[in-house]
């Protein structure tokens, strides 16, 4: 099957800065694909290359099998939802949404009908006459979304679309975006620096760092089986254990990651575990409590269910975890 978006050895350099450095990626048709990474990791550059706002220094980009390097954005059937929405301030909402249809010279009645349908899809029926300046951030976001899907692009690119929204709205939009993508069947490529967002929404995640793709996989892959210390650290808040410590537990000298929630904590002496330590910090998170535990040769965070039996600071505790919870990493980096 042809990939919806395919990047082959794509690099983008700005002078000496390698914003993107030899990236290979395949996005399957109909997939919800997230590009996750800290700022400056190259994920937005990657998106801009797919949209056509910038051209790669080297490499090959294909969209549904067609080579697009050198093809301007207006010839690509790919639309973008911009981080700050980029709505046209001199047009009302309906005109904004109908803009791509107007350019395709559809007749007025069709333009109106399709724009109204797109607005309904994003739950903004009846807002057509308003100006973007009269809308809230969340509403503008929806208009931008309606405008990007109204012409039924093959691929929809979303550049941190939820970044400017507050938490509650963000969670709501996450669900709606996911539902919208299912309903439309369009390939979504989503850029975010929020690992929670990437994990909860995406079918697959590519983790970027310093212009390179560190790992591509399902959310579960990158969360539970990180290939490198960077991925383990960036995706979630894993304990990263040095080789000496892992040697003492598994008998193998490799870096490993251990999820805080995979650790059982009991008072010292109750379990058969050889791992004992002292609780040095304790923060209450509602349904769970986060403990900082000092062991010989490592400092570990554990997340345990809140309750009366949660150890307090200064207590000696034993740690237990399933052997396969300790994930050995391939890369040293």
């Amino acid at each position: 099957m042809t990939a919806a978006v395919s990047l082959q050895k794509v690099s983008r350099h700005y002078g000496l800065v390698r914003a993107l450095d030899g990236v290979d990626l395949e996005v399957a048709p109909g997939e919800f694909f997230a590009m996750l990474g800290p700022s400056g990791s190259g994920k937005t550059t990657c998106l801009r290359l797919i949209a056509g706002f910038e051209q790669p220094t080297s490499g090959r980009i294909e969209i549904f099998g067609e080579a697009v390097v050198g093809v301007p954005p207006y010839r690509r059937n790919v639309n973008t939802v911009f981080q700050d929405y980029a709505l046209f301030p001199h047009m009302n909402v309906a005109e904004n949404v109908a803009y791509p249809l107007m350019l395709r010279k559809l007749d007025r009645a069709t333009q109106r009908r399709e724009a109204a349908a797109a607005l309904e899809l994003v739950k903004l029926s009846g807002y057509g006459e308003r100006r973007p300046g009269q809308l809230s951030g969340g509403q503008r976001q929806r208009v931008a979304l309606a405008r990007a899907i109204v012409s039924k692009p093959k691929v929809l690119l979303l550049d941190e679309p939820l970044g400017a929204l507050d938490l509650k709205l963000r969670e709501q939009m996450q669900e709606e975006l996911k539902a919208l993508q299912k309903a439309l069947g369009i390939t979504f490529v989503f850029v975010t620096h929020d690992q929670g967002e990437a994990l909860s929404m995406a079918d697959r995640v590519a983790v970027f760092d310093q212009g390179k793709v560190m790992q591509v996989g399902t959310p579960e892959d990158v969360y539970r089986r990180p290939k490198s210390r960077f991925v383990a650290d960036f995706v979630g808040s894993s304990n990263i254990l040095p080789p000496e410590f892992v040697q003492s537990v598994l008998g193998e000298s490799r870096w490993a990651s251990l999820r805080p929630e995979a650790i059982h904590v009991v008072a010292a002496g109750e379990g058969a575990s050889r791992l004992t330590g002292t609780v040095v910090s304790r923060s209450y998170l509602g349904s769970t409590t986060r403990l900082g535990i000092e062991l010989k040769g490592a400092h570990i965070h554990a997340v345990v269910p809140s309750g009366d039996d949660v150890p307090t600071e200064g207590m000696r505790v034993s740690l237990g975890f399933a052997k396969d919870a300790l994930h050995l990493m391939e890369n040293e980096g």
Binding site: Y74, T80, M102, L103
Partner: protein, 319 residues
Amino acid sequence: MSVVAATTGAVLSNRRGWFGSVSDFFWRAPKLFVFLLLTPAALWLGIVYLGSLLALLLQSFFAIDEFSGMVDRSQLTLKTYAELLKPQNLDIIIRTVTMAAMVTLASAVIAFPIAYVAARYARGKWKVLFYLGVMLPLWSSYLVKIYAWKLILAKEGILNWVFAQLHITFVLDWLLAIPVIGGNSLSISYIGTFLVFVYVWLPYMILPIQAAVERVPTNLIEASSDLGARPLKTFRHVIFPLALPGIIAGSIFTFSLTLGDYIIPQVIGSSRLFIGQAVYAHQGTAGNIPLAAAFTVVPIVIMGLYLWMAKKQGAFDAL
């Protein structure tokens, strides 16, 4: 206890003094501060500017007594305005307004690409160079520039020489052969007047357009392109409408400056009068202040109409 805390300044910084008290006072009364900031400008605009404008308006409702040649201030009349409609005066108005419109149009067409490049592509050193290039002509005297242009445009002038060297004198001859706007040489034709007007007012068109284009966010241009608009469509539907307030601002300058100028048409062009020259002549030697005032009202009314139309067309919606 509290007295001690206040004076030792554990919490409140102890920088009182006269100046500090004034600052504190204004900090508590920001509206008063704004009022004080605006007062000089308001006085200037209200009394000196609007006041003299009203005095002028009043003058235009007087009329000159045909026998004594004295201004009759005993009654208000529309007689002077009727005078404006006489063919020789109407001619002056039409000539001036047409010239102002052409100058404005040409300035906008020439200025836009320059302003666009400066706003969207020039960075750092190039931007400085742009400002320098646009402003430099404003550093030298207006009169010197106009007389320099007279030399450039004269029959024995530089332009004629250049055309002759390039063996394209026929282009110039063809231009000058056009009735009404042509003439014996560029320096005594309307074409010459037009060229000098455009040259002199061009900076006033470039700068507002440049500022307006600069304020168009790049991502709007990217969004337009992303949604399928070729560059020309993006220009028509996004850049131009958003830069329109700048173009209007620039056209207010070029239009009103041309309407009011009396030196350029006197030095360069045919000897037929423009509004400015008519005002100059009537208030001076002729002593017909009312007619001069009535002539002055014409550009004001035209500018008012122009702004009203621009507003109706939605030119300021994006502000």
